[in-house]
Amino acid sequence: MSKKSRPLSPHLQVYSWQLHMVLSILHRATGIALGAGTLLLTWWIFALSSSREAYQSFQGFIIHPVGRLILFGFTFALIFHALNGVRHLFWDVGKGFEIFEVKRSGMLVVALSLIFTIAAWVFAYMQAGKL
């Protein structure tokens, strides 16, 4: 396998950025971020199954601004990845491939992700009695 002589297919740097491309990258990026986020889920369940003290240290992390920011990112990543995943499932069965459909569904996913993420946090703060 000589690396020099092999032709390269066009990659990210030669395309102009467009919504569908950003969302495609974001789908993978949020997928990987959620992979890191599973550590939080595992810690949460592990702490619950361990002891009250263990759960308190988990809560201490989540209540800290940095923990909260991570959890906010986790919320957005989860909602975006789930909604954009639905787009992928439609494509898998051959639906929604027209350019205007891809644009429309893309914008819909972005809008809904932002709305649901903010709504989840507003309701959570209301539930916790802090709003």
């Binding site: 992979g35 889920l41 595992t42 369940i45 592990f46 919320t75 703060y125």
Partner: protein
Amino acid sequence: MAAGKTNPSGKKATRNWLHQRLTALILFPLVVWFVTSIVMMAGADYDVVLVWLTHPVIAVFMVVMIGAGFYHLSLGVREVIEDYIATPSTKKTLLALNTAFAIIFGGVALVSMFRLIF
């Protein structure tokens, strides 16, 4: 193909593709349910969360979500590794780490769930 050993066979790749979609279908309603539940429990203390999580129906949902979630994760990251890592040895190592991650952390989460239920 030089990288034949680290690439899954056609059959395996098709199976992975299908399993990723099937787990996605299972995960979507579970994630909607999970996020909603967590939002409803914001600010709840240890005892409230514990009662919720040990409810038989909730526990079953959680176990399925954890199992399908870590499997879906490992399939997704596998795809990314296969797409971007060309060096066979690096690819092989990363794929092994990817599988180990899912087994270890998914395993800890599942064992913790079983400790909670029983």
